[in-house]
């Protein structure tokens, strides 16, 4: 460090604008510079690692802290799996005969009635099989009708046309399929005619008011349907559930089993129905999400009329945290804590430049200001994405394994869903980081920016999971706030044909996965656009 070093090197060629390689994409250089900026501040890199570790750690602790025991030892659940690979509920009363090859079944339905647990003193009594505590009534998704099913095995393929408690006539198939038919409930005054026809793998469902004029509700293709199937009448009715209290500790519900009874006549069969007569069977009988024993059921036949009574449900199994079964998304509960770390790094990534006046050096080096924010967004998003990706890849197998060892049942999901959960976790962190960076660029101060982003992201989430608002309020928060992005982590979809309370505490979000993610992206895009406008307009 002496005066002797004060001799700048002079290259042979004179520099200037003429010497610059033309047509070079300078955005690549801005991106390169921003990446170098990020990786040369150790605290930011550590912050991203911490985000990943928090995500894994909280998932691990959550799995390790939850034990389920059944008597002396872990539970052994049998949960039927539907043709789509999802866990299903498949319990009902089935009056059936084999049907060989193509054919059809037609019936007139004159009544759908049912029984619900009695309410006494304002509280619903959980019935324990005591029929006397039931009173007349139907669940919205109590159902009875005709069904063609691959076999009597739970989880086998089926298609049904049915009358429901409050949702009119429907055609349902393979647990997740649901097509609406005409509204209304059958009665002696307005009976319903139902028909199913099998042609190869295709089953068509029809409805008629008079047995003459038929409308087709829909068709279902049941791949690999065996030549001989079981077909006949069924009745089933899901458990009744009433939310009795709601507060910081969560919500509690009481309820009990219900029954549905359908009355049928004018039974018409076409095709080859081998002799042997009708046979009544209880299919299934509980599962992890069906804490109430199925009431059983039965049928009797007098003349041409059948009366079929059943309990249970034929539907996807979606029980938001109420039973011992868990969706794999619980392994990712730590994402929320990782998100907080990501948001802090994201905001600091630009506010640190404002704090030191370094932003002027940045803008002097790259005068096109929009490009700087674009480059920063790409860099911080990539860093957060990698942190989230690694965390999710580690957390899911780790937490699900521990949870299984602790006696929990993990709902199966298909590979595509698992990929969505992993990539979605990474993407949520990436987009949240961009949102935080953009807010930081607009507000220019670390403390204010971090506080703002935490309030916008964390507060709605806390309000929603702690049930501070009525459920409808929670649902709106989860639709509009950035936290809607977490719905991309929902492993088991919401099916409207299942009556269940969709609460965020149970991991259920009101928006479909991609729609929720788009809401988060919209927040980030709006913040980024605002930041670009402000950065361009303001003197640095």
């Amino acid at each position: 460090m002496t005066a002797g070093t004060a001799t700048p090197n002079r290259p042979e060629t004179r520099p200037g604008h003429g010497s610059e390689p033309a047509g070079r994409d300078s955005f690549g250089h801005v991106l390169w510079a921003e990446w170098t900026k990020f990786r040369t501040v150790r605290g930011w890199v550590i912050g991203m690692v911490v985000a990943g570790l928090l995500t894994v750690l909280v998932g691990y602790l959550s799995a390790a802290g939850s034990q389920t025991g059944c008597g002396a030892g872990p539970c052994h659940f049998y949960v039927p799996v539907g043709p789509g690979g999802e866990a299903v509920t498949d319990s009902f009363y089935f009056v059936h005969r084999p049907l060989a090859g193509n054919g059809s079944i037609t019936v007139r339905m004159t009544s759908l009635t049912g029984k619900l647990p009695s309410a006494s003193g304002g509280r619903v009594q959980a019935g324990h099989g005591a029929q006397s505590s039931l009173h007349p009534g139907l669940e919205p998704w109590s159902k009875a009708g005709i069904i063609i099913k691959a076999s009597t095995r739970q989880g086998s393929a089926y298609a049904a046309v049915l009358a429901s408690g409050d949702n009119g006539v429907r055609m349902q198939y393979d647990y997740t399929g649901d097509i609406a038919g005409p509204p209304g409930r059958p009665s002696a005054a307005s009976p319903r005619w139902l028909r199913l026809t099998r042609s190869g793998d295709t089953i068509a469902g029809y409805e008629s008011a008079d047995g003459t004029h038929w409308i087709r509700i829909g068709t279902a293709t049941l791949a690999g349907l065996p030549a001989t199937v079981q077909a006949g009448l069924f009745a089933t009715s899901p458990a009744h559930s009433v939310t009795t209290s709601k507060g910081l500790a969560g919500s509690s519900a009481t309820g009990g089993p219900t029954l549905a009874t359908g009355v049928f006549d004018h039974l018409g069969l076409r095709g080859a129905w081998p002799a042997g007569g009708w046979r009544g069977d209880v299919i299934g009988g509980g599962g992890p999400s069906n804490p109430y024993p199925v009431q059983g059921g039965g049928y009797h036949q007098s003349g041409g009329a059948f009366t079929v009574t059943g309990s249970g449900d034929i539907a996807p199994d979606m029980d938001w945290g109420a039973g011992p079964g868990r969706s794999i998304q619980f392994a990712l509960v730590g994402t929320f804590f990782g998100l907080i770390a990501v948001v802090v790094v994201g905001a600091m990534y630009i506010t640190a430049e404002y704090r030191r006046g370094l932003i002027r050096t940045t803008l002097a080096a790259s005068p096109r200001r929009g490009r700087i924010l674009a480059a920063k967004a790409i860099v911080i998003a990539a860093a957060a994405f990698v942190a989230g990706l690694v965390a999710a890849i580690v957390a899911i197998p780790l937490a699900t394994r521990i949870s299984r060892d602790n006696g929990n049942y993990i709902y199966p999901v298909n590979a595509l869903t698992e990929v969505r959960l992993v990539a979605g976790t990474a993407a949520v962190l990436a987009v949240a980081a961009v949102l935080a960076m953009a807010v930081g660029a607009a507000l220019r101060r670390s403390a204010i920016a971090v506080t703002f982003v935490i309030v916008v992201i964390v507060l709605p989430y806390l309000i929603a999971v702690t049930n501070l608002l009525p459920l409808s309020g929670d649902q709106w928060l989860l639709r509009l706030a950035p936290v809607a992005g977490f719905s991309i982590q929902q492993a088991i979809p919401n099916y409207p044909q299942v009556s269940n309370v969709c609460s965020p505490a149970g991991g259920c979000y009101p928006l479909p996965p991609w729609a929720g993610f788009v809401v988060l992206c919209a927040w980030a895009a709006a913040a980024l656009a605002l930041a670009v406008v402000l950065l361009r307009r303001r003197d640095a």
């Binding site: 070093t5 520099p15 610059e20 250089h29 170098t36 040369t40 150790r42 803008l363 003197d539």
Partner: protein, 316 residues
């Protein structure tokens, strides 16, 4: 002319404060141009306008004949240092230079070259937060040199330097100018520029007061005065005044004499047997020249309460 800085008619206002009021000047290659004026005269604002950081309300600033915003890799046209403390404290000096180099499409090899030029080899891998102000200035100079630009612009580069650093900086700037680069250096202290600048742009209240070479300024300020060193100051004063000169006592043994040539002074003193040890043509200090030059603009010297030069700092 297209490798220099051209500022023409720039007006800039921050709320009620007029920062620049028709600032116009050009920086020539091959010499160090001092950009001097009191705090609040608009030096830093002018530099920010040149770098496209502040948008002028009126007028234009061109670098290499083009607006800064249109330069693809601006640091290859103009190297600048506005605030040596604008560093991420947890990033190393080398890391700082590295991202700047990458932003201009330059490699790490160039970074190591400028680290050597600035004499920062030992400190380069340490956290910049631990640098002394002098080291930060050297780091800033290294950053300005990254793109090997034909134009260099430094805001108060002598701030915080120790005497050794000041010597280094002067030699460095002189070498840059000798290589044919245009060098613009701001300062609020004339004395810092005395042995550095070849040319001066003197500003006050947001506009140029004088655009003049250093030699011209000193010659004009000296005004043919003569310095006399004598052990008999009262007697020398009397005889010289009797001979028709205007005499000012400048220290216990020196007088500044105007109105008589050096030869005539020697004759008068010898005639009256006044002892003297030195009679020399007076060379005005730059500070004096500056005061003389700006004495017409009394208004701004009489207003010490003007806003600070670094308006951005004031806004923070």
């Amino acid at each position: 002319m297209d490798t220099t800085i051209e500022v023409s008619g720039v007006h800039k206002r921050f709320g009620p404060t007029v920062a620049l009021d028709g600032m116009t000047f050009t920086v020539q290659p091959g010499r160090v141009t001092g950009f001097v004026g009191p705090n609040g005269a608009g030096k830093s604002t002018t530099m920010r306008v040149i770098l496209g950081l502040d948008a002028p309300d009126e007028g234009s600033a061109l670098v290499g004949g083009r607006p800064y915003q249109s330069l693809r890799h601006p640091m290859r046209y103009i190297g600048s240092l506005l605030d040596a403390s604008a560093l991420q404290p947890s990033r190393s000096g080398r890391g700082h230079l590295l991202w700047l180099a990458h932003s201009q499409g330059l490699s790490a090899r160039r970074v190591d070259e400028v680290i050597g030029q600035a004499g920062l080899e030992k400190a380069a891998r340490r956290r910049a937060g631990g640098y002394s102000l002098g080291m930060r200035q050297r780091l800033g100079i290294a950053a300005a040199m990254l793109g090997d630009p034909p134009v260099i612009m430094l805001d108060e580069p002598f701030n915080g330097l120790d005497p050794e650093g000041i010597v280094w900086m002067r030699a460095f700037l002189a070498a840059l100018a000798a290589q044919g680069r245009a060098v613009l250096v701001s300062s609020h202290l004339m004395s810092e520029l005395e042995d550095t600048a070849d040319h001066l742009v003197v500003v006050g209240r947001g506009k140029v007061i004088a655009d003049i070479s250093m030699a011209e300024l000193i010659a004009a300020a000296s005004g043919g005065r003569v310095l006399v060193r004598t052990s008999a100051r009262p007697k020398a004063l009397t005889v010289l005044e009797d001979a028709g000169a205007t005499v000012t006592a400048t220290s216990h043994d020196t007088l500044t004499v105007a109105g008589l040539s050096a030869e005539r002074i020697v004759a008068v003193l010898t005639e009256n047997a006044v002892p003297f040890s030195e009679v020399a043509a007076h060379r005005a200090s730059l500070e004096q020249a500056y005061m003389d030059l700006t004495s017409d603009v009394v208004e701004y010297r009489a207003e010490p309460a003007l806003p600070r030069d670094n308006t951005a700092e004031a806004r923070r």
